[in-house]
């Protein structure tokens, strides 16, 4: 059992998400930065899809009530165990009564905390992921509160404490270049609009959340109307409403929408854009579908090797 003394501003239970329900208007949810989440699970000897915590901007303070292992990954934040500094991207073994504090994100936005065994909440529609707007999954469909108790499932299998080397830790870049495939409505924008989108930096806005990353920068001008007949919104789709400013849709996105979409961020770069802090800038680079497939298989291959490899579902 884990006792939450202070959850931080928005901490939710997530696993790798619920597929198959977008046609009912229910998004997949799951971690925004799936790579950091999966590595946290591997560091405590869990399968990749075991449930852990995603914390936005600031981590939690909690006490272990039994022996367990934890790992903290994702955004860069100070971690202490009983007030003594402890590393991120490493297996931390806790005794009953040990208190862990995860501080504010110094670099990046989303911090992940995995516990050996995984958090034992009921599966809803096949997943333990929390969808906050729909009050679905996780712990009673909500963010954690002070005093919550998290039950851990029994840990099975070997656990070998380890710590990633600096070279193994995914870098958080100051101005990441995010790879996109243009379309499906790139033809609804002016040439200058698409050029502006691909040649200027865009700044992350504080209104961003798990539904979408809102950015500000040079106007992505429409050639004709910004509304389309509502259609499905893929992960990473970049909607551009009438104000010409891009919104990258993430894991808690609406399933359909009626704004033009200039491009789609490759799934391999969703975690990278999800770690960009408000005020920080990103650039977009267009790749074709073949290149996007290649980048995706590269991403999958590198993830398969990360933290000694993993057990998938």
């Amino acid at each position: 059992m884990i006792r939450v003394a202070d959850p931080g501003p928005q901490t939710t239970v997530q696993d790798l998400g619920r597929a198959g329900h977008l046609r009912e208007g229910i998004p997949p949810s799951g971690p925004v930065d799936a790579r950091a989440f999966v590595i946290a699970n591997r560091l405590v000897g869990n399968p990749d899809d075991a449930a852990g915590l995603e914390c936005t901007v600031m981590g939690p303070r909690f006490t272990a009530e039994r022996v367990c292992a934890v790992a903290v990954t994702g955004a860069e934040a100070a971690v202490t165990v009983n007030e003594a500094s402890a590393p991120q991207w490493a297996t931390l073994v806790l005794k009953p009564g040990d208190t862990v504090r995860v501080g504010a994100a110094r670099n990046g936005v989303r911090i992940y905390v995995a516990f050996s065994g995984g958090i034992d909440v009921p599966r809803v529609l096949g997943s333990r992921a929390t969808y906050l707007r729909g009050r679905l999954g996780g712990l009673e469909g909500r963010a954690l509160r002070r005093g919550d108790a998290l039950r851990l499932a029994p840990h099975v299998g070997p656990r070998r404490p380890r710590r990633l080397t600096a070279a193994e830790i995914p870098a958080l870049e100051p101005e990441p270049v995010i790879r996109v495939v243009l379309g499906p409505q790139a033809d609804r924008f002016t040439k200058e609009g698409v050029h502006a989108f691909l040649s200027n930096p865009y700044q992350m806005l504080p209104q961003s959340d798990r539904m979408g990353a809102r950015l500000a920068g040079p106007r992505i001008a429409h050639a004709r109307g910004h509304d389309i007949i509502s259609d499905g919104i893929a992960l990473g789709a970049i909607q551009v409403p009438g104000d010409g400013q891009p919104i990258v849709l993430l894991v808690d996105r609406q399933s359909t929408g009626g704004y033009t979409k200039v491009a789609t961020v490759g799934s391999f770069d969703i975690g990278r854009i999800g770690q960009v802090k408000p005020g920080q800038r990103v650039r977009f680079r267009a790749v074709d579908v073949a290149e996007a497939h290649r980048l995706r298989s590269e991403f999958e291959a590198s993830l398969a090797q990360a933290a000694g490899g993993g057990v998938s579902r």
Partner: protein, 227 residues
Amino acid sequence: MALCVELGDEISLEINTRVRALEFLIQQKGPAGVVETVPSFRSLLVYYDPAQVGYDALCAALGALAEQAETAVLPPARLVELPCCYEPELGLDLVAAAERLKMSTDELVRIHSGAEYLVYFVGFTPGLPYMAGVPERIQLPRLTTPRVRVPPGSAGLGGAQFCIYSVESPGGYWLLGRTPVALYDPEAAEPTLLRAGDRVRMRPIDRAEFDSIAAAVAARTYQPVIA
């Protein structure tokens, strides 16, 4: 990864039927690599796993299925009856809509509840049905100023479309009434009630029946009428 199959560029029964038929064919034939599908008015978003199928091969497979996508392949539609209380305290725009249409509220309710609606797709928020079939006589442009908060269950008219809000959200449709039936219940085994292709009829009820059905819904003893 995902690709979008567009079957037209307008809102029409014919095009939407082809979208739903294509989705049904995909469910039946299970082409390699398809992970999930999302139907909408005139297109089908197809999520796929590029490790299992290449882009060109998938386009070819979907193109072949799209040629067979017509009404005949669809299974018979369900008919869902939803009780709806058309009283001004719940149908916040009922009086204004009737005035704008130059008819009595009774006549507006009679026409609205006399029609049969077709769910083109479910989306935006969990369980929200986008429906067609609004009689021309009661079509209205959307509200000029959308409401910030529309209560769940509100039955709204916007142009040729009819929707029922499934969760509290902003909205720009004219609210004629409210159903006590939950279109989205995160604690139910099947959280969403309606599916693309369902036919829907509204049955007028008074406030007392609204309250008693709402209580049964809250107690999880209410069974929606589905034929």
